[in-house]
């Protein structure tokens, strides 16, 4: 909902891990800092995916989600929905 400004948990998927030396968590924070003011980025970051692929989970508003979606290095940004046991 574009009009909803309450932050919600989103997944920011960034694809494969770079083969060169890379510090995922600090990169994830620097990506987040581009859409946050001050230390809010650190508080927003919930989880980093850094062992088998690249990405993170963060609390984002709709506007922040839209900004991140346009950033270089980001494949997709989508809400962390609940799924069902089948």
């Amino acid at each position: 909902d574009a009009s909803d400004d309450n932050p919600k948990l989103h997944i920011v998927y960034m694809g494969s891990l770079p083969k060169t030396q890379y510090s995922p968590t600090s990169h994830h924070l620097s990506v987040l800092q581009q859409v946050f003011d001050g230390n809010d980025a650190t508080n927003s970051l919930i989880r980093s995916y850094k062992r088998s692929f690249n990405g993170f989970a963060a609390m984002l508003t709709h506007q922040q989600k839209e900004m991140l979606s346009q950033m270089e290095g980001v494949v997709s940004v989508f809400p962390s929905r609940k799924v069902q046991l089948h």
């Binding site: 948990l9 997944i11 998927y13 960034m14 694809g15 494969s16 891990l17 770079p18 083969k19 919930i46 989880r47 995916y49 850094k50 062992r51 088998s52 692929f53 990405g55 989970a57 290095g73 980001v74 494949v75 997709s76 989508f78 809400p79 962390s80 929905r81 609940k82 799924v83 069902q84 046991l85 089948h86």
Partner: protein
Amino acid sequence: TTRSWDFIGFPESVKRSLAVESDVVVGVIDTGIWPESDSFNDQGFGPIPKNWKGTCAGGKNFTCNKKIIGARFYASESTRDIDGHGTHTASTVVGNNVLGASFYGLAQGTARGGVPSARIAAYKVCNESGCTNDAIMAAFDDAIADGVSILSVSLGGSNIVPFDEDPIAIGSFHAMERGILTVNCAGNNGPFPRTVSSVAPWMITVAASTIDRRFIDKVILGNGKTLIGRSINSFSSNGTKFPIAKKNGNSTKCLEDRANICECLDSHLVKGKIVLCGNRANPSYNGGHPIGSIIKEFSIGETNFITPLPSLVLSSIEYEQLKSYMNSTNIPKAEILKSETIKDTNAPTVADFSSRGPNTIVSEILKPDISAPGVDILASFSPDASPSGKTFDKRSAKYSIISGTSMSCPHVAGIAAYLKTFHPDWSPAAIKSAIMTSAKTMKVSEDDVGEYAYGSGHVNPISAIHPGLVYDISLEDYIQMLCNLGYHNQKVKLISGKNNACSKATHRSSVRNLNYPALAIDVESMTSFTIKFKRTVTNVGLANSTYKATILPNPGIKVSVVPETLSFKSLHEKHSFVVTITGDKPEQHVLTSSLLWSDGTHNVRSPIVVNVLD
């Protein structure tokens, strides 16, 4: 599992390579496991496999052993399963053989997993409030790095979403990159078309089918008439008939309409009596304590369930007979008998609830891929969980009977792990191909499109060990498919880590040429069409062999294969062929056929499905 493995032709005596099997690690992404279950006892297990890179981080009150070698949690405070679902699925894939397992005497036998000597790594992604995408992503991230051999994922969304917004599609893609096949369930939104939500080609998607053991139960009315219903009722009334409540509610707290479907009950009207609950499949019994219940046939797509009281489910006709008896007497009585099992000679059939194709994201990829037992499966359970899911049901059970595509998924995961022990160097696509092309054909009801219900057919594990030919697919093939689908080069580069990922010519129509072991296509109605599919098979059977093609005829289409004969001189030799399908203004909605390659020993069958768009 006291019947399902035998039913699909996978007996306890099956040939195994135990030393190799004990090095296989199956990752289960689910609600955790109950570590003290007999299914996970480590007696007789040797040291942890040398290549295992995972850890036991099971949290509070959770200890690993030589069978459970990995544990992580992303929800709640421990990998311990308090729901039962994860214990059930994990024991179906890798559980030890446990003699004398039953649910209160029902479905008694030896409970066992597909690969009982293999190890388990449990990744808990669910808690009481559900399972979340961020936890699933984390579980895949860890499981792949930990070095699991196969992943079994018995959960998923109800909606179909693009690959790059689906955590199971994302995780399974990166698993496939590292040689790990992900087995995922089709979903329980059947029997309606276009409900399958697991649609990525790099994972194997499993529909649920029945086995030849069916549960029935009986109610004996006060007039001596016996009605037969279904449900999993472990209670015995020992010959006592109980009164049937004529009304379930008549107070301001519990209005009659709600009471008639057991949404609420007035205790003074129902205490010690059997209540009738209309067509509410899952009564709440709020406010009352009946002795038992009878429910009218529940909605399409639902299944048998364990009842918290002596209960059964009747067809509409028999329910009306019961009501007629109730209205004919002042003090209606009945006895509900404990469930019993009968042989179902119609099995296997696809369960109503099992989600159906076609695949709405990539119509060229037939989904689901395969069908496996998923109805009334007995497997290990968490003693802390209520077997009926009702908090007032205080029973505790080490085994439970559940239905769902969640139950069919670990059967295929077990078979995939079993194949891995014979062919450790095979790619995920080759293992998937072996499972699909060896499948048995299945029966289907007249109003169902079989291939959209069961995919390639019913799992056939022993034939899958020696498939003869496989349709292999490399990482580069999947990358090209993403390019052909229209994913931007920059996105595909990020996903795959390959520069110039979409450097080859891309075209949407080339998606059909992904080397998938099934052929599916959409065509416009009221038009003539000629469609060509390119495929390549790899010889994994006999070095010197000749395969001939046979097409199952369908009067609505003409199918030809060029060449019709493939001669191999060595193992791992590849041959390509083209399947051409022509049709002239088809009248049916869906046209099906199949391609069979046979050398007289190996039969390699691929379904062909032409979906005529309305």
